[in-house]
């Protein structure tokens, strides 16, 4: 079993190395073939690992430890070691499973791109780092995955590197994530100080120590500080306020990348981190409040922005930010099972929607503006049907997946944090509204596609339809993994060894009723409003619409309060301090050390002979001083 654990990250790494070194000589078939097979291999290994988890009495499997960083003479020894239990086992299946589907889709989508093999190298590299992130047995190794997926994300957002906006977005993503990474790093240092270890599991591991709270005690203030720093890291990776601004820009990358990294997997790493440390978060009521409110506000802000987008990918990007916010609402209300459940269902339907959007964009030769779509339902039938399924799922209409997982979150918020429930419920209504808006604008109404494109639609091939179909099926049925209302609680039972199952709430009927009504009413309103959309009827001139479209102008705010002052400070330190400060210090040197000053003035000539002469004089001075001192001190 220990060996199989290693296979999960290493097979994609080998794929990445092959494509990264000799990929350009392989041709498209071989290049994508290697990449796809490596992720399928990782998926099979992951299934074996999860099988091992369910059959093991302790509900976990561990790899052997291979030396990484250790300092002799100190107890510090950080190995490469992996640990899989139900919490990350489930994620691993999603990462490699959805990952494999998106690799297959990409093989067709990226056809003809001159960076074809480079693309697959990056994508495989991502799967490697993502597997390391969730499987890591200690925090520094988790950080390897954490920054590694950031690297892969940077490379893939900026994949079309000749495009300025793409490299700009890539840089922004990495830097904003780095802010969160520093918080995580400091959290790690604090954990090391408190727990004397960086291992997560095992006898002395941090999580084990946290479980055995009778023998271990952390002050609430310290717990709060660590929890908030961890959440700072999570907020960067999972695009929460105030660090969410990178994710909408990340849509500059190829669409399958958006589906895999910026919807299904990487962005959920923050939720994984919080759930992993749920015991620590539960020690601090303040941290829980911060998580719940941040999640709720992010969800609402992003949903507002989602309503006002014309770019089909931007709708989905803001939707992702918003859904991630809901997952943090769940965490902040203590419903960690619900958070992880939504991570899973969201991975299916959001990947489905992104890939569907990609198929639409592909069909329209790269068009992303929904004002130039419309009436596509009859033209690309299979894509239409599958996007419709995704839309119903995310809108929270029963019995599809999104309904069940979102309902759990709303219920937890209703029971534990009523104001945040308000935010989440409003978000749900807006979600249904903007998703139907997207669907209607794209597929229904009259066609606004230009003549030429309409006659030359790219019809998706099997490699595009097959992944969509599988994700469509999952989006329909995945909700039944955890549908307590109909007596199904497979998923919470599965997580129970790591996260205690939620108690039964007697508000469940009420909350579910409200949710269904809200989802249906919002959907109906949206369909009615956009049924006969024509360009010009949109509220694009209204200032509120523009304000929403810019996501409440957070980018402008940061430009004004962060970027500008820091740029000015950098320019100041360069001009005032570096250029002139050195001269000032030097003048001080001139006047205080006279003989140095004189020699310096002599050297203005810049003639090499002078340097040597001066150096010789100095050496003579030095040596004579030494000689004098030597004779005096030499007994």
């Amino acid at each position: 079993m220990s060996t199989i654990l290693w296979l999960v990250p290493l097979i994609p790494l080998i794929g990445a190395i092959i494509n990264g070194t000799i990929g350009s000589k392989l041709g498209e078939r071989l290049s994508s073939g290697i990449a796809i097979l490596s992720v399928i291999g990782a998926f099979i290994a992951a299934i074996a690992v999860v099988g091992g988890v369910s059959s093991s009495p302790g509900h976990f499997v561990e790899s052997n430890a291979v030396a990484w960083m250790s300092v002799p003479g100190t107890p510090l020894s950080i190995p490469f070691s992996f640990h899989v239990d139900p919490l990350n086992g489930g994620m691993l299946l999603v990462i490699t499973g959805v990952g494999a589907l998106i690799h297959i889709y990409s093989a067709s989508y990226m056809h003809g791109d001159k960076g074809y093999s480079r693309y697959f190298a990056y994508l495989n590299l991502f799967v490697f780092f993502m597997a390391v992130l969730v499987m890591a047995g200690n925090l520094p190794l988790l950080f390897v995955g954490w920054e590694g997926v950031g690297l892969a994300s940077y490379l893939l957002i900026g994949f079309w590197q000749e495009k300025w906006s793409a490299t700009q977005a890539a840089k922004k993503a990495f830097i904003v994530n780095r802010i969160g990474d520093v918080a995580l790093l400091i959290a790690m240092f604090m954990l090391y100080r408190e727990f004397k270890t960086l291992n997560l599991y095992g006898d002395s591991g941090i999580l084990t120590q946290l479980t055995a709270s009778s023998t271990f005690h952390v002050e609430t203030g310290v717990a709060t500080a660590i929890a908030l720093l961890l959440f700072g890291g999570a907020a960067g990776k999972s695009a929460q306020l105030p660090l969410f601004v990178w994710l909408p820009d990340a849509m500059e990358g190829p669409t399958p990348v958006s589906a895999l990294i910026h919807a299904a997997t990487m962005v959920t790493a923050g939720i994984y981190l919080v759930c992993r440390f749920h015991l620590l978060f539960e020690m601090s009521p303040l941290a829980m409040q911060v998580v719940a409110w941040t999640g709720g506000l992010t969800a609402l802000v992003a949903a507002c922005a989602g309503v006002a987008q014309w770019d089909i990918k931007k709708v989905l990007a803001y939707s992702t930010v918003s859904q991630l916010g809901l997952m943090f609402v769940a965490c902040g209300c203590g419903a960690f099972t619900a958070a992880m459940f939504h991570v899973t269902t969201h991975a299916f339907f959001k990947a489905l929607l992104f890939l569907g959007a990609g198929a639409v964009i592909h069909a329209l030769h790269g068009e992303q503006d929904m004002r130039k779509m419309g009436g596509l339902a009859s033209k690309i039938k299979s894509t239409h049907l599958l996007v419709l399924i995704g839309t119903i799922a995310i809108a929270g209409i029963p019995p599809l997946a999104g309904f069940w997982s979102k309902d759990e979150i709303l219920l937890a918020a209703f029971d534990h944090n009523r104001p945040v429930y308000g935010l989440a419920a409003a978000t749900s209504a807006l979600t249904a509204f903007y998703m139907w808006r997207m669907y209607m604008l794209t597929f229904q109404g009259s066609s606004r596609v230009d003549e030429h494109t309409a006659h030359h639609l790219h019809h998706p091939d099997t490699r595009i339809v097959l992944p969509l179909a599988i994700l469509g099926i999952l989006s329909v049925i995945a909700g039944f993994m955890n549908a307590p209302a109909v007596g199904l609680h497979f998923y919470s039972d599965w997580l129970a060894p790591v996260i205690p199952s939620p108690e039964h709430s007697h508000n469940s009927g009420l909350v579910m009723g409200i949710s269904v009504v809200v989802a249906l009413v919002a959907s109906a309103m949206s369909v009615a409003k956009y049924k006969s959309f024509t360009v010009g009827t949109g509220a694009k001139s209204s200032p509120v619409f523009a304000f929403f479209a810019s996501a409440l102008r957070f980018d402008d705010l940061y430009a004004a309060i962060v970027v500008k002052p820091l740029t000015a400070a950098a320019a100041w330190s360069n001009l005032s301090v570096e250029r002139n400060g050195a001269r000032g210090l030097l003048r001080l040197g001139h006047s205080s050390v006279d003989f140095v000053g004189k020699s310096v003035r002599r050297w203005q000539s810049g003639i090499v002979g002078d340097y040597i002469l001066s150096m010789a004089i100095c050496l003579i001075v030095i040596v004579s001083v030494v000689l004098i001192a030597g004779t005096r001190g030499g007994n």
Binding site: W68, M69, S70, V71, P72, T74, P75, L76, E147, G148, L151, Y154, G158, Q161, E162, W164, T167, K171, I175, R178, D181, V182, L185, I186, M188, F189, Y192, R193, K196, T197, L198, N199, S204, T567, A569, S573, N574, L575, E578, G581, A582, L585, L586, G589, V596, V600, W603, Q604, G606, I607, V608, Y611, M615, L619, I622, V626, L627, A629, G630, G634
Partner: protein, 488 residues
């Protein structure tokens, strides 16, 4: 083999002398041969062997001016053997990949080989006066190289550089002489024992601590004593710059670990909070200045202030893990910054400019070169699984429990490095191709091999740093009692 260090120092010097006598065409190959053998031999220096004395191996003693107390006494511990290896390695690659200026080939190689050899004398010396002489004398070839082959601002650069370092050095000299007067010896190991036994006047130790701190902090470019660095680095020819930034600046940190803390007594201990704070300030300040540059060589030059800040923190903080990380990071910084300066030199040579405004699109012309540059960039940004992460992580982890606030500030420097390095990459290698075919960066076999070797080292140290950490942790000095958390 106790004469090992003599051979390591002498070989490049002999090569330099021969190279300056023969025809210009063979000067390069003779320099390569001499420095390459020295580099291979310095790998032997890592292994313990020869006479062993109080933690040092390959100990060698011979009189020079015995009446003065000036001895050729050498010895290596883990730290100094790694730094000697770094210096010889940088000498070799500097000679291989950076072409000499056409008008003065022999003088150019002579200056580099002499600078490397003198730096090694300083790293290996167990006689504090010998250390001092080498520490000073190593400046001469650097100043000559700046003066003869440097950039447009060279005379200013050389003067500022000289004045700043010489002020610190004279202070250091006075303190060394003071120690000699009080103890009658320049022998490092004897001095260390005497200080540890409390046999030296504390006021003298206090002066030694202050004076040596100023000298070493200037060398290591700790803010505000860094003011010489920008102009000096930008105007130093790249071959010499590899040694200056990669090896000689490390003499400052080495001096803090080797001399200031063990010989500075209690007062040196009391300076630690100040040094750590200045280190943290350097990290942040260096990042700010680097972010304001438009010349890629200047970006990398100022980034050194930031990186050296981390190394200084780890050196003095008094934690074994942090100090080992700091020693390893000296090696890492030499490799990574060296690689970046080499890339910068290629760009400048082929594109005719180092200004980001004139660059762009290098990836589409030279994909291999660009990929390697990207790797070096992420090593500089301290991405995990590169060498930079291991060093910085251990430094910060070890420093945090004693100086949480300074460490947190220094950690934030990680944001800064992403800002200026990724900006530089975006402007220089991304974007559409801007140049004609004549400006495409094409790497020859030797250039490609050197860059690939550097890349392998970066990944190798990032993935399996433990063997090097084992050597780095032998740094012969313990400051205070480090907190030793249990890790199983």
């Amino acid at each position: 083999m106790n004469e090992l260090i003599l051979v390591i120092v002498a070989l490049p010097l002999i090569a330099a002398v021969i190279a300056s006598l023969v025809h210009e065409k063979s000067a390069k190959s003779i320099s390569i041969i001499g420095s390459a053998i020295a580099c291979l031999l310095s790998i032997l220096g890592i292994t313990t062997g020869g006479t062993i004395d109080r933690g040092f191996h390959h100990v060698f003693n011979a009189p020079w001016l015995p009446k003065l107390g000036l001895m050729f006494s050498f010895g290596l511990d883990g730290m100094s053997s790694l730094l000697v290896l770094l210096t010889t390695f940088l000498t070799v690659i500097a000679v291989i990949v950076i072409p000499a200026p056409k008008n003065a080939v022999r003088a150019y190689y002579l200056s580099i080989l002499v600078a490397g050899a003198l730096t090694n004398v300083a790293f290996a010396s167990l006689n504090i006066l010998l250390f001092y002489i080498a520490f000073e004398a190593a400046l001469i070839p650097v100043l000559i190289a700046i003066g003869m082959f440097g950039g447009g601002d060279r005379s200013k650069a050389a003067i500022q550089f000289f004045v700043f370092t010489v002020i610190g050095s004279l202070l250091l000299l006075s303190a060394i002489i003071g120690l000699r007067i009080a103890t009658g010896t320049f022998d490092y190991l004897t001095l260390k024992d005497l200080v540890a036994a409390g046999a030296v006047d504390p006021s003298l130790l206090r002066w030694f601590a202050i004076a040596s701190f100023i000298a070493f902090a200037t060398k290591a470019a700790v803010v505000p004593l860094h003011a010489w660095l920008g102009r000096a680095y930008i105007n130093t020819p790249t071959g010499m710059l590899l040694l200056l930034s990669g090896a000689m600046a490390k003499l400052g940190v080495y001096g803090l670990i080797r001399f200031t803390l063990p010989l500075g007594g209690d007062f040196a201990e009391s300076l630690v909070p100040l040094i750590v704070t200045l280190g943290a300030v350097s990290v942040v300040y260096g990042a700010f200045v680097a972010a304001a540059q438009t010349d890629i060589k200047a970006v990398i030059a100022f980034s050194s202030i930031s990186h050296m800040g981390y190394i200084v923190i780890g050196a003095v903080v008094g934690d074994d893990a942090a100090r080992s990380g700091s020693v390893l990071q000296m090696l890492n910084h030499g490799i990574t910054t060296g690689a970046l300066f080499i890339c910068c030199d290629f760009i400048s040579r082929y594109r005719g400019s180092r200004q980001v405004t004139a660059l762009g699109g290098i990836w589409s012309d030279s994909p291999l070169f660009s990929r390697l540059l990207l790797l070096f960039t992420f090593s500089s940004v301290a991405l995990p699984l590169t060498n930079g992460f291991v060093g910085e992580f251990l430094i910060l982890l070890g420093a945090f429990h004693k100086f949480p606030y300074q460490t947190a500030i220094a950690s934030a420097g990680a944001i800064g490095s992403a800002v200026y390095m990724l900006w530089m990459i975006q402007r220089s290698i991304y974007g559409g191709s801007k140049s004609d075919a004549s400006k495409v960066i094409s790497l020859g076999v030797s250039e490609r091999s050197v860059l690939l070797a550097l890349a392998l080292m970066i990944i190798g140290i990032g993935v399996a740093p433990s063997p090097l950490l084992a050597i780095a942790s032998d740094n012969g000095h313990k400051v205070g009692a480090a907190m030793q958390p249990e890790v199983k």
